[in-house]
Symmetry: C2
Protein backbone atom coordinates (compact mmCIF):
# COMPACT_ATOMS: atom_id res chain seq x y z
CA UNK A 1 0.00 0.00 0.00
CA UNK A 2 2.71 2.43 1.03
CA UNK A 3 4.80 1.49 -2.02
CA UNK A 4 1.89 2.10 -4.38
CA UNK A 5 1.13 5.46 -2.77
CA UNK A 6 4.78 6.43 -3.17
CA UNK A 7 4.73 5.46 -6.84
CA UNK A 8 1.54 7.51 -7.23
CA UNK A 9 2.90 10.55 -5.45
CA UNK A 10 6.18 10.49 -7.32
CA UNK A 11 4.36 10.38 -10.67
CA UNK A 12 2.08 13.23 -9.60
CA UNK A 13 4.97 15.36 -8.35
CA UNK A 14 6.77 14.83 -11.63
CA UNK A 15 3.68 15.83 -13.62
CA UNK A 16 3.29 19.01 -11.59
CA UNK A 17 6.97 19.86 -12.02
CA UNK A 18 6.91 19.25 -15.77
CA UNK A 19 3.64 21.14 -16.27
CA UNK A 20 5.09 24.24 -14.61
CA UNK A 21 8.26 23.85 -16.68
CA UNK A 22 6.03 23.72 -19.76
CA UNK A 23 4.53 27.12 -18.86
CA UNK A 24 7.70 28.90 -17.80
CA UNK A 25 10.01 27.53 -20.52
CA UNK A 26 7.36 27.15 -23.24
CA UNK A 27 8.39 23.51 -23.39
CA UNK A 28 5.97 21.57 -25.58
CA UNK A 29 7.67 18.21 -24.89
CA UNK A 30 7.17 18.67 -21.14
CA UNK A 31 3.47 19.40 -21.66
CA UNK A 32 3.09 16.28 -23.80
CA UNK A 33 4.82 14.19 -21.14
CA UNK A 34 2.26 15.37 -18.57
CA UNK A 35 -0.62 14.45 -20.86
CA UNK A 36 0.92 11.00 -21.33
CA UNK A 37 1.35 10.42 -17.59
CA UNK A 38 -2.34 10.82 -16.90
CA UNK A 39 -3.46 7.29 -17.78
CA UNK A 40 -0.85 5.73 -15.49
CA UNK A 41 -1.87 7.97 -12.58
CA UNK A 42 -5.52 7.06 -13.07
CA UNK A 43 -4.69 3.36 -13.17
CA UNK A 44 -2.71 3.49 -9.92
CA UNK A 45 -5.56 5.36 -8.20
CA UNK A 46 -7.88 2.42 -8.93
CA UNK A 47 -5.26 -0.09 -7.76
CA UNK A 48 -4.83 1.74 -4.45
CA UNK A 49 -8.58 1.97 -3.79
CA UNK A 50 -8.97 -1.75 -4.51
CA UNK A 51 -6.07 -2.53 -2.21
CA UNK A 52 -7.57 -0.43 0.60
CA UNK A 53 -10.87 -2.25 0.37
CA UNK A 54 -9.10 -5.61 0.34
CA UNK A 55 -7.11 -4.66 3.44
CA UNK A 56 -10.25 -3.48 5.24
CA UNK A 57 -12.12 -6.66 4.34
CA UNK A 58 -9.41 -9.23 5.00
CA UNK A 59 -7.49 -7.80 7.94
CA UNK A 60 -10.12 -5.82 9.82
CA UNK A 61 -7.50 -3.34 10.97
CA UNK A 62 -7.89 -1.33 14.17
CA UNK A 63 -6.67 2.03 15.53
CA UNK A 64 -3.56 3.31 13.71
CA UNK A 65 -3.81 0.80 10.86
CA UNK A 66 -7.43 1.74 10.29
CA UNK A 67 -6.61 5.44 10.33
CA UNK A 68 -3.75 4.79 7.90
CA UNK A 69 -6.07 3.13 5.39
CA UNK A 70 -8.73 5.82 5.68
CA UNK A 71 -6.02 8.49 5.23
CA UNK A 72 -4.59 6.56 2.26
CA UNK A 73 -8.02 6.48 0.58
CA UNK A 74 -8.37 10.23 0.96
CA UNK A 75 -4.77 11.04 -0.04
CA UNK A 76 -5.16 8.81 -3.08
CA UNK A 77 -8.17 10.85 -4.24
CA UNK A 78 -6.25 14.09 -3.71
CA UNK A 79 -3.23 12.82 -5.63
CA UNK A 80 -5.32 11.74 -8.60
CA UNK A 81 -7.02 15.14 -8.74
CA UNK A 82 -3.60 16.79 -8.53
CA UNK A 83 -2.60 14.74 -11.55
CA UNK A 84 -5.66 16.09 -13.38
CA UNK A 85 -4.71 19.63 -12.35
CA UNK A 86 -1.21 19.19 -13.78
CA UNK A 87 -2.90 18.21 -17.04
CA UNK A 88 -4.87 21.47 -16.89
CA UNK A 89 -1.62 23.41 -16.42
CA UNK A 90 -0.01 21.53 -19.33
CA UNK A 91 -2.96 22.47 -21.55
CA UNK A 92 -2.65 26.12 -20.52
CA UNK A 93 1.08 25.87 -21.30
CA UNK A 94 0.26 24.74 -24.83
CA UNK A 95 -2.23 27.63 -25.18
CA UNK A 96 0.48 30.05 -24.03
CA UNK A 97 3.25 28.72 -26.25
CA UNK A 98 2.80 31.45 -28.88
CA UNK A 99 2.18 34.29 -26.43
CA UNK A 100 4.90 36.96 -26.03
CA UNK A 101 7.43 35.85 -23.40
CA UNK A 102 6.99 39.02 -21.37
CA UNK A 103 3.32 38.28 -20.80
CA UNK A 104 4.14 34.98 -19.14
CA UNK A 105 6.75 35.63 -16.53
CA UNK A 106 4.70 37.40 -13.84
CA UNK A 107 5.26 35.59 -10.56
CA UNK A 108 4.42 32.12 -11.77
CA UNK A 109 7.83 30.58 -11.02
CA UNK A 110 7.73 31.97 -7.48
CA UNK A 111 4.22 30.82 -6.61
CA UNK A 112 4.87 27.49 -8.37
CA UNK A 113 7.99 26.94 -6.27
CA UNK A 114 6.04 27.49 -3.07
CA UNK A 115 3.24 25.16 -4.17
CA UNK A 116 5.70 22.43 -5.19
CA UNK A 117 7.38 22.69 -1.81
CA UNK A 118 3.97 22.27 -0.11
CA UNK A 119 3.22 19.22 -2.24
CA UNK A 120 6.60 17.66 -1.50
CA UNK A 121 6.36 18.34 2.24
CA UNK A 122 2.82 16.94 2.48
CA UNK A 123 3.95 13.69 0.85
CA UNK A 124 7.17 13.53 2.88
CA UNK A 125 5.11 14.08 6.02
CA UNK A 126 2.92 11.12 5.11
CA UNK A 127 5.89 8.87 4.38
CA UNK A 128 7.73 9.87 7.55
CA UNK A 129 4.61 10.00 9.79
CA UNK A 130 5.73 13.54 10.58
CA UNK A 131 2.88 15.65 11.94
CA UNK A 132 5.15 18.67 12.47
CA UNK A 133 6.10 18.73 8.80
CA UNK A 134 2.41 18.43 7.93
CA UNK A 135 1.70 21.45 10.11
CA UNK A 136 4.33 23.43 8.14
CA UNK A 137 2.26 22.77 5.03
CA UNK A 138 -0.86 24.04 6.76
CA UNK A 139 1.01 27.21 7.72
CA UNK A 140 2.06 27.89 4.08
CA UNK A 141 -1.44 27.98 2.72
CA UNK A 142 -1.98 31.65 3.58
CA UNK A 143 1.23 32.64 1.77
CA UNK A 144 -0.10 31.04 -1.42
CA UNK A 145 -3.39 32.93 -1.04
CA UNK A 146 -1.51 36.23 -0.69
CA UNK A 147 0.69 35.51 -3.73
CA UNK A 148 -2.35 34.53 -5.72
CA UNK A 149 -4.13 37.79 -4.92
CA UNK A 150 -1.04 39.80 -5.98
CA UNK A 151 -0.78 37.76 -9.20
CA UNK A 152 -4.44 38.33 -10.03
CA UNK A 153 -3.97 42.07 -9.60
CA UNK A 154 -1.03 42.17 -12.01
CA UNK A 155 -2.70 39.95 -14.60
CA UNK A 156 -5.93 41.97 -14.51
CA UNK A 157 -3.94 45.19 -14.91
CA UNK A 158 -2.21 43.75 -17.99
CA UNK A 159 -5.61 43.06 -19.57
CA UNK A 160 -6.72 46.66 -19.00
CA UNK A 161 -3.46 47.99 -20.49
CA UNK A 162 -3.70 46.22 -23.83
CA UNK A 163 -6.47 44.06 -25.21
CA UNK A 164 -3.87 41.91 -26.98
CA UNK A 165 -3.03 40.68 -23.48
CA UNK A 166 -6.54 39.42 -22.73
CA UNK A 167 -6.15 35.96 -24.22
CA UNK A 168 -2.77 35.02 -22.68
CA UNK A 169 -3.84 36.68 -19.43
CA UNK A 170 -6.84 34.36 -19.17
CA UNK A 171 -4.58 31.32 -19.59
CA UNK A 172 -2.25 32.71 -16.94
CA UNK A 173 -5.19 33.23 -14.58
CA UNK A 174 -6.07 29.57 -15.10
CA UNK A 175 -2.50 28.55 -14.24
CA UNK A 176 -2.48 30.63 -11.05
CA UNK A 177 -5.89 29.34 -10.01
CA UNK A 178 -4.79 25.77 -10.67
CA UNK A 179 -1.63 26.28 -8.61
CA UNK A 180 -3.85 27.48 -5.78
CA UNK A 181 -5.97 24.35 -6.08
CA UNK A 182 -2.81 22.22 -5.95
CA UNK A 183 -1.88 24.00 -2.72
CA UNK A 184 -5.35 23.24 -1.35
CA UNK A 185 -4.89 19.54 -2.13
CA UNK A 186 -1.49 19.57 -0.40
CA UNK A 187 -3.27 21.12 2.58
CA UNK A 188 -5.88 18.36 2.51
CA UNK A 189 -3.12 15.74 2.50
CA UNK A 190 -1.33 17.46 5.39
CA UNK A 191 -4.57 17.46 7.39
CA UNK A 192 -5.01 13.76 6.72
CA UNK A 193 -1.43 13.13 7.85
CA UNK A 194 -2.01 14.91 11.16
CA UNK A 195 -5.18 12.88 11.60
CA UNK A 196 -3.40 9.65 10.78
CA UNK A 197 -0.35 10.31 12.97
CA UNK A 198 -2.02 11.98 15.93
CA UNK A 199 -5.57 10.69 15.66
CA UNK A 200 -6.87 14.24 15.83
CA UNK A 201 -8.73 16.14 13.22
CA UNK A 202 -7.21 19.53 12.40
CA UNK A 203 -9.60 20.40 9.65
CA UNK A 204 -11.27 23.74 10.18
CA UNK A 205 -9.00 24.20 13.17
CA UNK A 206 -7.85 27.51 14.59
CA UNK A 207 -5.78 29.63 12.23
CA UNK A 208 -6.41 27.51 9.18
CA UNK A 209 -8.32 28.34 6.07
CA UNK A 210 -10.95 26.19 4.49
CA UNK A 211 -9.36 24.15 1.71
CA UNK A 212 -11.48 23.34 -1.32
CA UNK B 1 -24.78 7.34 8.75
CA UNK B 2 -27.31 7.61 5.96
CA UNK B 3 -29.31 10.21 7.94
CA UNK B 4 -26.20 12.32 8.53
CA UNK B 5 -25.23 12.15 4.85
CA UNK B 6 -28.74 13.24 3.91
CA UNK B 7 -28.57 16.18 6.29
CA UNK B 8 -25.18 17.07 4.78
CA UNK B 9 -26.36 16.79 1.18
CA UNK B 10 -29.52 18.77 1.81
CA UNK B 11 -27.51 21.62 3.37
CA UNK B 12 -25.03 21.57 0.48
CA UNK B 13 -27.79 21.54 -2.15
CA UNK B 14 -29.43 24.48 -0.44
CA UNK B 15 -26.14 26.41 -0.34
CA UNK B 16 -25.58 25.81 -4.04
CA UNK B 17 -29.12 26.88 -4.88
CA UNK B 18 -28.90 30.05 -2.79
CA UNK B 19 -25.44 30.96 -4.11
CA UNK B 20 -26.68 30.83 -7.70
CA UNK B 21 -29.76 32.85 -6.70
CA UNK B 22 -27.37 35.39 -5.19
CA UNK B 23 -25.58 35.79 -8.56
CA UNK B 24 -28.64 35.84 -10.80
CA UNK B 25 -30.91 37.95 -8.60
CA UNK B 26 -28.16 40.06 -6.97
CA UNK B 27 -29.50 38.82 -3.65
CA UNK B 28 -27.16 39.83 -0.85
CA UNK B 29 -29.20 38.01 1.82
CA UNK B 30 -28.89 34.73 -0.10
CA UNK B 31 -25.11 35.15 -0.32
CA UNK B 32 -24.89 35.82 3.42
CA UNK B 33 -26.99 32.72 4.13
CA UNK B 34 -24.47 30.61 2.18
CA UNK B 35 -21.55 32.08 4.13
CA UNK B 36 -23.39 31.26 7.35
CA UNK B 37 -24.10 27.65 6.34
CA UNK B 38 -20.43 26.84 5.92
CA UNK B 39 -19.60 26.14 9.55
CA UNK B 40 -22.46 23.66 9.90
CA UNK B 41 -21.42 21.81 6.72
CA UNK B 42 -17.85 21.56 7.97
CA UNK B 43 -19.01 20.26 11.33
CA UNK B 44 -21.16 17.52 9.77
CA UNK B 45 -18.26 16.44 7.55
CA UNK B 46 -16.18 15.72 10.65
CA UNK B 47 -19.09 13.88 12.32
CA UNK B 48 -19.56 11.63 9.27
CA UNK B 49 -15.85 10.77 9.03
CA UNK B 50 -15.76 9.92 12.73
CA UNK B 51 -18.85 7.77 12.34
CA UNK B 52 -17.33 5.91 9.37
CA UNK B 53 -14.20 5.08 11.33
CA UNK B 54 -16.27 3.94 14.29
CA UNK B 55 -18.35 1.67 12.02
CA UNK B 56 -15.22 0.21 10.42
CA UNK B 57 -13.61 -0.42 13.80
CA UNK B 58 -16.58 -1.81 15.70
CA UNK B 59 -18.54 -3.73 13.10
CA UNK B 60 -15.86 -4.90 10.67
CA UNK B 61 -18.29 -4.69 7.78
CA UNK B 62 -17.92 -6.84 4.66
CA UNK B 63 -18.90 -6.64 0.99
CA UNK B 64 -21.77 -4.17 0.38
CA UNK B 65 -21.60 -2.59 3.83
CA UNK B 66 -17.87 -2.03 3.44
CA UNK B 67 -18.35 -0.51 0.00
CA UNK B 68 -21.09 1.69 1.41
CA UNK B 69 -18.81 3.10 4.08
CA UNK B 70 -15.93 3.68 1.67
CA UNK B 71 -18.34 5.41 -0.75
CA UNK B 72 -19.75 7.48 2.14
CA UNK B 73 -16.25 8.65 3.10
CA UNK B 74 -15.59 9.79 -0.46
CA UNK B 75 -19.02 11.34 -1.00
CA UNK B 76 -18.66 13.19 2.29
CA UNK B 77 -15.41 14.79 1.08
CA UNK B 78 -17.04 15.78 -2.21
CA UNK B 79 -20.05 17.29 -0.43
CA UNK B 80 -17.88 19.36 1.88
CA UNK B 81 -15.88 20.72 -1.05
CA UNK B 82 -19.14 21.49 -2.87
CA UNK B 83 -20.13 23.52 0.19
CA UNK B 84 -16.84 25.44 -0.12
CA UNK B 85 -17.52 26.02 -3.83
CA UNK B 86 -20.95 27.46 -3.06
CA UNK B 87 -19.16 29.88 -0.72
CA UNK B 88 -16.91 30.88 -3.65
CA UNK B 89 -19.99 31.52 -5.79
CA UNK B 90 -21.59 33.57 -3.00
CA UNK B 91 -18.43 35.69 -2.77
CA UNK B 92 -18.47 36.25 -6.55
CA UNK B 93 -22.14 37.21 -6.22
CA UNK B 94 -21.21 39.88 -3.70
CA UNK B 95 -18.46 41.13 -6.06
CA UNK B 96 -21.00 41.30 -8.89
CA UNK B 97 -23.73 43.06 -6.93
CA UNK B 98 -22.90 46.50 -8.33
CA UNK B 99 -22.18 45.33 -11.90
CA UNK B 100 -24.65 46.31 -14.64
CA UNK B 101 -27.43 43.72 -14.85
CA UNK B 102 -26.84 43.09 -18.55
CA UNK B 103 -23.29 41.93 -17.89
CA UNK B 104 -24.50 39.18 -15.59
CA UNK B 105 -27.19 37.28 -17.41
CA UNK B 106 -25.13 35.35 -20.01
CA UNK B 107 -26.06 31.69 -19.74
CA UNK B 108 -25.45 31.33 -16.01
CA UNK B 109 -29.04 30.35 -15.12
CA UNK B 110 -29.02 27.66 -17.82
CA UNK B 111 -25.69 26.09 -16.91
CA UNK B 112 -26.56 26.43 -13.19
CA UNK B 113 -29.83 24.58 -13.74
CA UNK B 114 -28.03 21.71 -15.41
CA UNK B 115 -25.41 21.52 -12.67
CA UNK B 116 -28.04 21.58 -9.92
CA UNK B 117 -29.91 18.77 -11.62
CA UNK B 118 -26.65 16.72 -11.73
CA UNK B 119 -26.06 17.36 -8.04
CA UNK B 120 -29.61 16.39 -7.11
CA UNK B 121 -29.54 13.23 -9.24
CA UNK B 122 -26.17 12.12 -7.86
CA UNK B 123 -27.49 12.40 -4.31
CA UNK B 124 -30.84 10.78 -5.16
CA UNK B 125 -28.92 7.94 -6.83
CA UNK B 126 -26.97 7.40 -3.63
CA UNK B 127 -30.08 7.43 -1.45
CA UNK B 128 -32.02 5.11 -3.79
CA UNK B 129 -29.04 2.82 -4.63
CA UNK B 130 -29.87 3.65 -8.23
CA UNK B 131 -26.92 2.98 -10.55
CA UNK B 132 -28.95 3.92 -13.64
CA UNK B 133 -29.67 7.38 -12.26
CA UNK B 134 -25.96 7.71 -11.42
CA UNK B 135 -25.09 6.88 -15.02
CA UNK B 136 -27.41 9.71 -16.17
CA UNK B 137 -25.23 12.09 -14.18
CA UNK B 138 -22.10 10.73 -15.86
CA UNK B 139 -23.73 11.28 -19.25
CA UNK B 140 -24.49 14.98 -18.44
CA UNK B 141 -20.91 15.93 -17.79
CA UNK B 142 -20.09 16.55 -21.45
CA UNK B 143 -23.08 18.90 -21.79
CA UNK B 144 -21.69 21.04 -18.97
CA UNK B 145 -18.28 21.14 -20.65
CA UNK B 146 -19.86 22.33 -23.90
CA UNK B 147 -21.93 25.01 -22.15
CA UNK B 148 -18.88 26.16 -20.26
CA UNK B 149 -16.86 26.56 -23.44
CA UNK B 150 -19.67 28.60 -25.03
CA UNK B 151 -19.92 30.75 -21.88
CA UNK B 152 -16.19 31.40 -21.83
CA UNK B 153 -16.32 32.55 -25.45
CA UNK B 154 -19.09 35.04 -24.74
CA UNK B 155 -17.50 36.37 -21.56
CA UNK B 156 -14.10 36.81 -23.25
CA UNK B 157 -15.74 38.64 -26.15
CA UNK B 158 -17.43 41.03 -23.70
CA UNK B 159 -14.01 41.89 -22.21
CA UNK B 160 -12.59 42.69 -25.66
CA UNK B 161 -15.61 44.87 -26.46
CA UNK B 162 -15.36 47.18 -23.50
CA UNK B 163 -12.74 47.34 -20.79
CA UNK B 164 -15.39 48.34 -18.26
CA UNK B 165 -16.56 44.74 -18.60
CA UNK B 166 -13.22 43.22 -17.54
CA UNK B 167 -13.86 43.24 -13.80
CA UNK B 168 -17.39 41.78 -13.78
CA UNK B 169 -16.36 39.37 -16.55
CA UNK B 170 -13.60 37.92 -14.35
CA UNK B 171 -16.11 37.32 -11.55
CA UNK B 172 -18.45 35.67 -14.03
CA UNK B 173 -15.64 33.44 -15.29
CA UNK B 174 -15.07 32.38 -11.69
CA UNK B 175 -18.76 31.52 -11.33
CA UNK B 176 -18.79 29.44 -14.52
CA UNK B 177 -15.59 27.66 -13.56
CA UNK B 178 -16.97 26.94 -10.11
CA UNK B 179 -20.20 25.55 -11.59
CA UNK B 180 -18.06 23.25 -13.70
CA UNK B 181 -16.22 22.07 -10.60
CA UNK B 182 -19.57 21.40 -8.91
CA UNK B 183 -20.53 19.24 -11.90
CA UNK B 184 -17.23 17.38 -11.55
CA UNK B 185 -17.98 16.65 -7.89
CA UNK B 186 -21.46 15.40 -8.83
CA UNK B 187 -19.73 13.14 -11.35
CA UNK B 188 -17.38 11.85 -8.64
CA UNK B 189 -20.37 11.06 -6.42
CA UNK B 190 -22.17 9.29 -9.25
CA UNK B 191 -19.06 7.16 -9.90
CA UNK B 192 -18.92 6.25 -6.21
CA UNK B 193 -22.62 5.29 -6.32
CA UNK B 194 -22.08 2.94 -9.26
CA UNK B 195 -19.14 1.43 -7.42
CA UNK B 196 -21.17 1.03 -4.23
CA UNK B 197 -24.27 -0.42 -5.92
CA UNK B 198 -22.64 -2.59 -8.55
CA UNK B 199 -19.23 -3.22 -7.05
CA UNK B 200 -17.61 -2.06 -10.27
CA UNK B 201 -15.43 0.92 -10.84
CA UNK B 202 -16.58 3.15 -13.70
CA UNK B 203 -13.93 5.79 -13.24
CA UNK B 204 -11.97 6.46 -16.39
CA UNK B 205 -14.42 4.14 -18.16
CA UNK B 206 -15.28 4.33 -21.84
CA UNK B 207 -16.98 7.54 -22.93
CA UNK B 208 -16.39 9.35 -19.68
CA UNK B 209 -14.27 12.36 -19.00
CA UNK B 210 -11.76 12.71 -16.28
CA UNK B 211 -13.36 14.57 -13.39
CA UNK B 212 -11.14 16.84 -11.33
Amino acid sequence: MRTKLLEMSSLVEKSIHRSIGAVVQKDRAAADEVLNNEARINAIELEIDALAIELLALHQPMATDLRFIVAALKINTDLERMGDLSVNIAKSALALIDAPAAAIVVDIPYIAGLVQSMVRKSIDAFVAHDADLAREVLASDHAVDDLRTACYGRINASMLEDRANVKPALSLLTVVRTLERLADHATNIAEDVVFYVKGIDVRRGAGMKNPT
